[in-house]
Amino acid sequence: MSKLVIEGVSRTFAGVRGGQPVQALQPVDLAVAANDFITILGPSGCGKSTLLRIVAGLEAPSTGRVLLDGNAVTRPGPDRGMVFQSYTLFPWLTVAENIGFGLRERNMSERERSEIVASYVDLVGLKGFENHWPKQLSGGMQQRTAIARALANDPAILLLDEPFGALDNQTRGLMQELLLGIWERRKKTVLFVTHDIEEAIFMASRVIVMSARPGRIKSDVPVDLPHPRHYTLKTSPEFSALKAQLTEDIRVEAMRTAQAQSA
């Protein structure tokens, strides 16, 4: 049985000032197997973030439904951990308190909490920074904390909305390896939205390519590259072949978006 099932989910936004309603997402069907790492790749504005927010329960679909472990998603909950593109650490909490936020909401005792928090601080390599405020951290460290915060809740699925989009290229590469390393060690079902082709291939066991707005699934590409993956993989011939294929796919969509905007 699939871990996550997306059935005919679409999203239409009401028109602004009496204008035509805008369809952001055409009906999408997708089944995700447990412990799969799925990346959703698409040009900006294709509705991929909208799809992710619907899975998170932060937005309601106009049609269709989302099932996680057979239960319909109606509102956000701790079974769907999310990492956002913008830095969303709570600025009034330290790194450790941020990571423990979800556990605190569950009324877990201080002692149990600190044990779990310490293990996740370790997992994302933030030892020594437990008592720092978020504003004292670099962008990469903030996103590492955000990943630890989402994972500490032990969610059934981890949702990431362009989590490394605001980081510089070098940091981004390191973060990809860090997240993939965590996934390789502690299997987890992951839905990862990105517009970066290389990132989409490197992280994924399956890449879902989305079309230009209104978004729909254009292709579904399995990535059978071996694990554990090392950054040198990005220069291998197999990787390059996949990249060439997806670049072609996404280029057509990006051009369509550009034309739609200039029209």
């Binding site: 932060l58 951990g81 709570f90 979800g102």
Partner: protein
């Protein structure tokens, strides 16, 4: 050379800031001691200091100062404990906002000073009336400012908290309130400034103690030196309490510093 937006070194900044005070007092001394204005209407700086000293030593003016400080503090606390919870509730729950916002917006334009005759009828000319003047003058403003700040809580933080399993109650207690605490404290710092204005107005009418009372009393005796001394005392205490408040906020909310 003066160039737009070019920063000034810290030392120079201090010197320039003090220089204006010196110039101001020098000008004041020149027009008064030089005989350019009638001494009856404006005392010179030296007689002002002399009058002030006499007030403190002989007329026990420090008691008036303490009474005024107590009133400011009392009115401020009263307004804060009413306005902060209402503001938070209004900002967080939109139906409550829809219910109260129009009335509060209207009420904040009611001038506190015009309420003084009514407040005297209701509460007499005792301490309660002074506190109520400050209360009426600030409570509606504070409610609105806090409601707006709470209403503009970063949505991404709220969404993040929901995905971590927070309940609606948890969102209010552990996201909305801490997120806005520094700005609420900053708003209250402003209120303290208003309270100083309202308390003097309250003391000018129907009062028998306080800095404002001393000022209105000095007017009938044409003691302009005392009036000016009283005004300067208010300014200095205001400045000191402002510094103290700022320091307290910095200590309470170290995470919000840039």
């Amino acid at each position: 050379m003066l160039r737009p937006l070019h920063p000034v070194p810290p030392g120079t900044r201090t010197v320039l800031g003090i220089a204006f005070f010196v110039l101001f007092v020098a000008f004041w001394a020149w027009i008064t001691l030089g005989g350019h204005v009638n001494r009856i209407f404006l005392a010179d700086p030296l007689s002002m200091l002399k009058d002030g000293w006499r007030l403190l030593v002989e007329d026990r003016f420090w008691l008036d100062i303490l009474i005024t400080i107590w009133r400011v503090f009392g009115g401020f606390v009263l307004a804060s404990i009413v306005a902060v919870p209402i503001g938070i509730v209004m900002g967080a729950w939109k139906p409550v906002e829809a219910f109260l916002e129009p009335f509060v917006s209207f009420a904040r334009y009611l001038p506190a000073s015009a309420f003084i005759p009514l407040l005297i009828l209701w509460a007499g000319i005792g301490e309660l009336e002074k506190l109520l003047v400050i209360f009426v003058g600030s409570v509606f403003q504070v409610i609105l400012i806090i409601a707006v700040k709470v209403g503009s809580t970063r949505r991404d933080l709220v969404e993040a908290a929901y995905t971590l399993g927070a309940t609606d109650n948890g969102i209010v207690k552990r996201v909305i309130m801490p997120a806005n605490a520094p700005e609420i404290a900053e708003t209250l710092r402003l209120v303290l400034g208003w309270a100083w204005t309202y308390v003097i107005v309250a003391e000018l009418i129907g009062s028998s103690s306080g800095i404002g009372y001393m000022i209105i009393n000095s007017q009938s005796r044409l003691a302009t030196g005392q009036i000016i001394f009283g005004i300067i005392v208010i300014g200095l205490i205001g400045l000191l309490s402002d510094f103290a408040f700022k320091a307290l906020n910095r200590w309470l909310y170290p995470w919000s510093l840039a």
